[in-house]
Amino acid sequence: MSDAAHIPAHGDHHEHPKVPYVAIAATLFVMTIITVAVSFVNLGKTGNVILAMAIASFKASLVILFFMHLKFEKKTMVVICLIPYVLAAILLFALFPDIVYGQYH
């Protein structure tokens, strides 16, 4: 078992398809420049925050799917890797009432 992944001696262990790493990195470069550029555009505080976080999330998903190969992993791995993101979302929602009923003033 331990050397099953060593290399595809087993017929069912497929090497994942060739990943266009340079194209992914180029996209990340462009998205970074866009992030900086849109920060100069005034979309209202909320608009700027949502746009910046949307771009960051898109970049993060490119990194996870292609650089970290999650796109080519087994489904079980994908489920395991998604759990903390669900928990993180719950954490942020749990903090949300604190923002709405902010007692910081």
Binding site: A4, T32, K45, Y85, Y104
Partner: protein, 196 residues
């Protein structure tokens, strides 16, 4: 025997091609997601609750925006070279694997040097962790991220060294996952601290 095999079958193939080290690294990264979520959650909550406390100090970071942007590009490029090191390692091309590992480590070190330069300008201007709540978050978040970079550079250099004599393709893949995650954290820190 075939019956015994049938019993274990449902759980076995699902994760068959994932070796234990890789699974362990993913689980560690899951815990890291929660680690940074806690800090970022606190930052977002406090900042949204009382924006005025943050915005005055955050303007001090704006003139470092280009430096931090360059650092972002540096980390993305280092993720690319790390991915190439993994590919070359799996192909058995050790010299190229070593070259890409060294390049990745060098970019990590360059990131840290630029970060220290940025810290030194803030400290010279009297902006230290106890200046206010924004700088407390700034130093905590970037400091912990910088520590993660340092914790990546050391094993990457180790791998570059041991790749001369050993097959470190699996280890390269594991450290690579960690390195991409550190890149990923910065992708969120950069806009949250410098831009918005």
């Amino acid at each position: 025997m075939s019956e015994a095999h049938a019993i274990v079958e449902p759980s076995e193939p699902a994760i068959e091609s994932v070796y234990n080290g890789k699974l362990a690294m993913w689980l560690f990264l899951c815990s890291e997601v929660m680690f940074f979520s806690g800090l970022l959650g606190a930052y977002i909550t406090l900042r949204t609750g009382d924006p005025s406390r943050f915005e005055a100090s955050q303007t001090h970071l704006h003139h470092h925006m280009w430096l931090a942007g360059f650092n972002t590009l540096l980390l993305i490029t280092s993720s690319l070279t790390m991915a190439m090191a993994v590919v070359r390692g799996q192909a058995g091309d050790k010299p190229k694997q070593r070259m890409f590992l060294v390049l990745t480590a060098l970019m990590g070190i360059a990131f840290l040097l630029l970060k220290f330069y940025e810290y030194s300008t803030h400290i010279a201007a009297g902006q230290v962790p106890n200046t206010d709540v924004f700088f407390a978050f700034y130093y905590t978040l970037t400091g912990l991220h910088g520590f993660h970079i340092l914790c990546g550079v050391i094993p990457i250099l180790g791998l570059a060294h041991f790749s001369k004599t050993h097959d470190v393709s699996k280890e390269t893949e594991m450290v690579g996952l960690y390195w991409h995650f550190v890149d990923l954290v910065w992708i969120f820190l950069f806009p949250l601290l410098y831009l918005i």
